[in-house]
């Protein structure tokens, strides 16, 4: 390990701690988000750990059911809104996007910083709600329980989510305008890296779906706070209207979580197989198609809610349709590997894990899109396993892959390769041990959100908890070696992976203004030499 340090770049540009909180530099804002969401992840993970330990005993010896309800609500709210949704867009997106398009910064840098403060304000309210005793409605806040009967701190929790939603909206707005307006000369739409396309598709969803969440939470809070309401059956209201409005946002929200991950995976496959992405234009269009179709399928969360059967049929059909562009992406990633020079570096391990686990999760999504099957597995661990496969097996692995891939650019240093690879393998194994048994549990009928369960499910639950312990270890390792590498890792140089992409044409870490001279783009994306 040499004594040379990487160039100071943006990390040393504005000295002092306070400068970080006044920065307009998208790279520093990305790091602010990195710290915040890591903190929220640990809180959400702690809740999950408590639940998995509690589920070691069928009779619920560790905690009472009411506490269990508050734990899974905390886990859902924190993990979804304060980890998964901001993870790739606000950490990797903020850092990489302007670099990837050859710009100095995003379109509205002050709005970018404001977004982080708004995010933290929402987070503070949610943490207050948790500390004050929590909420037991589930992250879905269904009425009339949330608006009339629940005894938890629903208002504070909902207000926190409402506020954090504006952070999402402003980020999406910023990214859309940035991608339209700030691309370097020669960087036409079909020369953009797929990561940029994915951020664009994600931003469209953020901007068009999140306001509906805001108004829904507002109406629910109105009902709870003032005793009036539009969802109250006692005065002729319909609780299902809440569900329609809630899921109109929350289903596209899952595509907010996965699309940036898909974008990252495309970058990783291209770089570590040293191949052009197979079917680049189709991949870009598939991202947009997933974003658009994702808005039309929300009723599949409501198959057993007593919505009209006709609506159920329509939503079932549309849900099958949305799987098509996702499947196309999986085929194209696989085709990209064909005759590639594959390097099993850490980011590649995460990308391969993503494809495997996302495929399993996605296929089980098809089971759930079938109305008849969903009637039986709705509300069971089958659903829990399905969404954890796509969100954790998919999204979190893509996030970690992206973090490792861009870590040299962010920090100017390399992480220790063998520990990193081992962590990726441990995470993959731990994940499957945790969540595969849950498919079986759900199929056998174990309901979700229950602290107590019939003894015949005991063994599988013990398996799942054991897996969670392994998974936890896997997540812990990067939390140690990544900060270590920040100070002691070998200097990375501008392009340690020999990757294409404008971000690799500047120093690691980049100077505050990103590029000494605005780059001019003349090549197609992923301009790797064809295989011999």
């Amino acid at each position: 390990m040499s004594d040379d340090a990487p160039p100071p770049g943006y990390l040393a540009a504005e000295p002092g701690i306070l400068a970080w909180f006044r920065t307009l530099d998208h790279k520093r804002i990305g790091l602010l988000y990195l710290f915040s969401i890591t903190g929220f992840f640990m809180i959400g993970a702690a809740a999950a750990a408590c639940m998995r330990v509690a589920l070691l005993s069928p009779q619920g010896n560790l905690i009472v059911s009411d506490t269990y309800n508050r734990l899974f609500t905390l886990h859902g709210v924190v993990m979804i809104w304060f980890f998964l949704i901001p993870a790739v867009p606000n950490v990797l997106g903020n850092f990489v996007l302007p670099l990837a398009i050859g710009a100095r910064d995003v379109a509205f840098p002050r709005l970018n910083l404001a977004s982080w403060y708004i995010f933290m304000a929402g987070g503070a309210l949610v943490l207050y709600a948790i500390a004050a005793g929590g909420v037991d409605t589930g992250w879905t806040f269904y009425t009339p329980y949330s608006s009339t009967y629940s005894n938890g701190h629903v208002m504070a929790m909902a207000a926190g989510v409402f506020i954090a939603g504006f952070s999402s909206i402003f980020t999406g707005l910023n990214f859309i305008v940035t991608i339209h307006r700030l691309r370097a000369p020669g960087l036409t739409w079909f020369r953009l890296p797929l990561f940029v396309w994915s951020l664009y598709a994600t931003s469209i969803i953020l901007v068009l779906a999140t306001p509906i969440l805001a108004i829904t939470l507002f109406l629910m809070a109105l009902e709870r706070g003032l005793g009036v309401g539009v969802f109250d059956p006692k005065i002729g209201g319909d609780p299902l209207l809440f569900q329609h409005l809630f899921w109109f946002y929350s289903h596209p929200a899952v595509y907010v979580m996965i699309l940036p991950g898909m974008g990252v995976v495309s970058e990783l496959f291209a770089c570590f197989a040293r191949r052009r992405i197979f079917g680049y234009r189709v991949m870009a269009c598939a991202l947009l198609a997933i974003a658009a179709l994702g808005f039309l399928v929300w009723g599949h969360h409501m198959f057993v809610s007593s919505q009209s059967l006709y609506a159920g049929l329509v939503f079932s059909l549309l849900s099958f349709l949305v799987s098509v562009p996702s499947a196309v992406k999986v085929f194209n990633w696989t085709a990209t590997l064909h005759r590639g020079s594959i390097r099993l570096d850490t980011p590649m391990l995460y990308a391969l894990g993503f494809v495997a686990l996302f495929t399993i999760g996605g296929l089980t999504g098809l089971f759930l899109a079938s109305l008849a099957v969903d009637v039986h597995v709705h509300g069971t661990y089958f659903i829990v396993a399905h969404f954890h496969y796509v969100m954790v097996g998919g999204m979190v692995m893509a996030y970690l892959g992206g973090i490792h891939y861009w870590w040299p650019k962010i920090s100017g240093r390399l992480y220790p390769e063998w520990i990193a690879r081992s962590s990726a393998v441990i995470i993959f194994l731990g994940f499957n041990l945790t969540f595969f048994p849950q498919f079986v549990l759900g199929y056998l009928g174990m309901p979700r959100r229950y602290a107590i369960y019939p003894p015949e499910f005991h063994t599988l639950n013990v398996c799942s908890t054991a897996g969670a312990a392994v998974l936890g270890l896997g997540y812990l390792l990067p939390l140690i070696y990544l900060p270590w590498s920040f100070f002691r890792g070998a200097p990375a140089g501008p392009n340690p992976w020999d990757a294409t992409g404008l971000e690799w044409r500047t120093a690691s870490p980049p100077p505050p203004h990103n590029f000494e001279e605005t780059p001019v783009v003349t090549a197609e994306p992923y301009d790797y030499p064809p295989p011999p």
Partner: protein, 91 residues
């Protein structure tokens, strides 16, 4: 101010539309009145968007962004109505 003549015409049109919908209340209640009221509102929206918000000059992407919100709202409305309008029809 001469330059403001065209804006005054726009305002006159808007107020005329408002007078139209207000006057429609003089007639007895009838089913077409809801549609008429909404149609008049949409005309006012179009006039304001094109002239006051200057969408008539700003073509292309600005218009796409302007239309996107309404289009997406339409998707929400149509699909939610697909539930409410068909309840009790299919078992």
């Amino acid at each position: 101010m001469k330059a403001s003549r065209d804006l005054l015409l726009v305002l006159a049109a808007l107020l005329a539309l408002l007078a139209l919908s207000a006057a429609s209340t003089l007639l007895p209640p009838a089913p077409w009145k809801t549609a008429a009221g909404l149609a008049i509102a949409m005309m006012k929206l179009a006039v304001i968007a094109l002239y006051f918000m200057r969408l008539r000059e700003h073509r292309g992407l600005t218009r796409v962004f302007a239309a996107a919100g309404l289009f997406w709202l339409g998707l929400l409305a149509v699909l939610v109505l697909s539930d409410y309008l068909t309840r009790g029809r299919l078992h």
